[in-house]
Symmetry: C2
Subunit: 573 residues, 2 copies
């Protein structure tokens, strides 16, 4: 009975109550931890519209609550405008009939997303939920007029640039900028409760962060290192103009000499980025993934940008266009990306690795405790890692010499995100010192689902119950989970101390965190906002495991069956 | 020593010699079969340039031997011209810097293909090898001038319409029309030798064929059924104009009613196509794969075609363009295709299945022995098959009633081409009556390699020996092969009589055929020209297996180790 009620309590109340009962010794630490559900914690982690003000404000529209928390901003009607306005220092809310993959950058830039059409499995909902971004979808009464840049809802007309406030937890839309209440991260109850979780859990929890700001925020949330730093992130968003231009110069280079020249110009930006983040995570490991996306993603579409680039490269616009076109791919997700770039253009890996080692050396000289982990993406064969390791070792020696150091402590490992890598993990672990599961890509390849294109069929699959749930939300244990089990066991068969983690978005999903605990991973890594949720889920996993061990004890038969299963599994190696 | 020399003998001589020695009882049947290598047989299956003439002719250029045999024709420089000239009764050779998917029809029409750029894994090479068409790629000294329609090689200028002869087995290019020697398919030695192979082999050999002509040709080559009939094939190539138009109408429909109307018009074309092929394969099974490619592949690019379509649908060109744009996908290979179309548009499956059953019923009434197998592509979850089976069963009952039949014998099964399907094969086999491995897609997903885009990195991977060989040429046993083993064993754990085959292009690769034999497949299916090669390779596999069993006998240790390995594998279920 009590447990039933627990679920209905709101987040702050649940935490407060659990903590109070534990302090009065009415419940054990484990019981206290189990009293709060991950979804309740989620409520605490996002700024919310001030409830007192919200109570007295009339919503102009209602939709489905697709991404939690509250947000205010000036409305725009296109992804390009969102990006442009945000560059100009504005806060925006992107309003669309529905979104599609071309809107991604605008969605990323916006404070929140509001769509007139689409359900909980629409493109906007899937993307926003993944990011933990405030989002309302399917607000059907809203009629958007893209050409004249306004929307109507009943008699109300809302024009581009007007302020709107969204409550993404409830799905309500308000005119104007309502006051917000800050997230509860500094709430002492919250911090005390998280400490209980930490005493119980065994999985480490890291964060996916690409900037020193994100790293700092994640530390407040309790992250024990960075599990994924995307080097390409510096080419998106604010302050990206100059490095992006240099990256584009490198991409449109034709000779190695041209490319090396552009990379040399790019080097200081990468180094400063890398150094800032390691500094913010001082004392904890930071996993740097070398360049991952297909290069064509960075090709400029605007003609003025192309012209500028052509001038800088000393080539004609025609020639530039030719080079840009040659980068086009039919299925870029399975194209020339990740380590494939590092092999065809080793100078790219070299520049990145040099930036990491030099930044580390400088921090060491400053008395800091940096610990870089270099991670190779999109690996499918152990030879790819061997190839990259030669570069890493060469640069390591050079940087040590330059800084007069005997060695720079670091690890080198790989993403496991391609089925072939999971299936040949024993060989890969002969070289790689750690694995990190990229379950987004592993799900894409495992299902043959392009995440950008699932809008055409996944909603129907979920409605008709062809699939029980969205495999990008929670790990599919029968397929992706099976590959993870195989890879973890066979990797450790050749390297018993292999460190294994996960840095796909599943790392912040409670059910997936439980699965990661069950199969013996060392850590999960997730977006900063999901860190406390992962800490709680990891604690829940331990308690559930203890409970199920207890209940299965009396039945000798069951426990024997479990042992056989475990034996079978270990034979799979 | 003898074996060494055997390899150097040319194809016809090797077959003749092996047969003669067998007939004189100097060697056993097995020895005779082992005396001919698959590559030697390949030589017999294509017309070749008369060796006596070739010896005295100077080649003007040399490239990589990408497609075997010899061919002569008048040169053209565009796919459209190739199609046009061939329609006018001419024999042409298509000359391009390099080819891309838009050139397919021209490549098909041409006698041979010659490109200035590209390696053994370039588009032209891959396509030509699949078809068994004469092709030379990467003839780097050739400089093509498309505008003025000529190419130069050194001082020689060769203009459109001039005759060229290619030796695709060697990679040599000659001016003029050299005399050819015919292929050996009607050669009695060849037929007698193939009979020896058939007495030895255990694997059945089927063919991939989409037309009654291909089916008839494959029967001459010894095919025992069709393992892959692509329903979409009728929308490409000759006589495709009308059905393609109707397909496009269906694709650009917005309502189910519009779609059903277009499908109803399309139905007779599909039925006649299906019927013709089953008739040509009378007495053998024909596996029909339901619609596989993403719909946007059929969207017309030409404005006049779009206008015609808009008129026929009674919508504006603007509206048509919108509908066409909405079909765009970022990664169509992993997008809305295969069974995903059958689930979101069940009326498409229904039309195809009705065509198959009605054609079968008519053939039965005519006293023929048709045996259709309906195959669902791109399956990742058993529920997808359950969904499609409901449609199949419903239509089956309706057609039986219409034709007064009690039942129409058929099988329903699925492609295994998505890793998840392989990993959950036990569940899928609860419903599917047969599996057919789509190793092209399984390799794409398993490696994360888009076959259309490997040109950017695979040549480098092969040069640097990162990968030992092109995984699209020969099955990678460690990954794709492992998935095939898991799927075969776990599928048969729930359905012991599960029929398992392969219809990817690997079905015509000798090493892959051997692997398929070793893991217990029932059949391989390959393009018509590869059928004799697969028959020989299947016989070789049996003999090699016998030999290795013999040699391992004395060593008790080895055989024990093998048993343990087999046990381990069977536990994986």
């Amino acid at each position: 009975m009590l447990q039933c009620r627990v679920g209905k309590r709101n987040g702050p109340a649940a935490v407060k109550m659990a903590l109070a009962m534990y302090r009065e010794k009415l419940i054990t630490k484990e019981e206290a931890v189990m009293r709060v559900q991950p979804a309740q914690l989620d409520e605490l982690l996002h700024p919310i519209v001030d409830p007192a003000v919200e109570l007295n404000t009339k919503a102009i529209a209602k939709g489905l609550p697709a991404g939690p928390g509250g947000a205010s901003g000036q409305i725009v009607f296109s992804a390009a405008d969102a990006v442009e306005w945000v560059k100009g220092g504005k806060k925006v809310i992107l309003v669309r009939d529905e979104t599609n993959p071309e809107d991604i950058e605008g969605m990323r830039a916006a404070q929140a997303i509001l769509t007139a059409r689409g359900g909980m499995t629409s493109h906007a909902a899937l993307v926003a939920r993944g990011w933990g971004k405030c989002c309302i979808v399917g607000a059907g009464l809203i009629k958007v007029n893209y050409e004249e840049k306004y929307f109507t809802v009943g008699d109300i007309v809302v024009k581009e640039g007007q302020w709107l406030t969204l409550n993404g937890t409830k799905g309500t839309v308000y005119l104007g900028e309502l006051p917000m209440k800050k997230a509860a991260e500094e709430n002492p109850d919250f911090q005390a409760f998280m400490k209980l979780c930490d005493q119980v859990r065994k999985l480490k929890v890291r964060t996916n962060a690409d900037t020193s700001e994100d790293a700092a925020r994640a530390r407040v949330f309790g992250a024990e290192g960075i599990g994924l730093f995307r080097t390409e992130h510096m080419f998106y968003g604010k302050n990206s103009e100059e490095p992006l231009f240099l990256l584009r110069k490198m991409i449109h280079s034709k000779t190695e000499a041209e490319r090396v020249a552009a990379l040399t110009e790019l080097f200081p930006y990468v180094k400063s980025d890398v150094k800032g983040t390691m500094d913010a995570m001082d004392g904890f490991p930071v996993t740097f993934r070398t360049l991952d996306p297909p290069l064509h993603e960075f090709v400029p579409t605007r003609i003025d940008e192309r012209e500028k680039l052509a001038v800088s490269l000393g080539i004609s616009l025609d020639e530039l266009n030719k080079r840009a076109d040659s980068l086009h791919e039919n299925n870029p997700m399975m194209g020339h990306r990740g380590v494939r770039l590092g092999i065809t253009y080793p100078e790219i890996t070299e520049m990145q690795v040099r930036a990491i080692f030099e930044a580390t050396a400088e921090l060491l000289k400053e008395g800091k405790k940096p610990f870089p982990e270099i991670m190779i993406p999109v690996t499918c064969h152990v030879n790819e890692i061997k190839h990259q390791y030669e570069i890493i070792n060469k640069v390591h020696a050079e940087v040590c010499k330059k800084f007069g150091l005997k060695k720079i402590a670091h690890l080198t490992g790989t993403m496991i995100e391609i089925p072939r890598a999971a299936l040949t993990a024993d060989k890969i672990a002969e070289v790689a010192q750690f694995f990190s599961f990229g379950t987004n890509d592993l799900t894409q390849m495992g299902f043959g689902f392009s995440r950008d294109d699932i809008g055409g069929f996944l909603p129907e699959y979920l409605d008709q119950k062809i699939l029980p749930e969205d495999p990008f939300q929670s790990i599919d244990r029968e397929s992706v989970g099976k590959l993870m089990e195989i890879a973890t066991q066979s990797g450790r068969s050749t390297r018993p101390d292999l460190k294994v983690g996960i840095c796909g978005e599943h790392g912040g999903d409670p059910k997936s965190v439980e699965f990661c605990h069950n199969i013996g991973l060392n850590y999960v890594s997730c977006s900063p906002f999901r860190v406390p949720i992962a800490r709680l889920a990891a604690a829940h996993a331990v308690i559930k495991e203890m409970k199920s061990a207890k209940t299965s004890k009396p039945s000798a038969k069951k426990s024997a069956a479990k042992k056989t299963a475990a034996k079978k599994l270990s034979k799979k190696k």
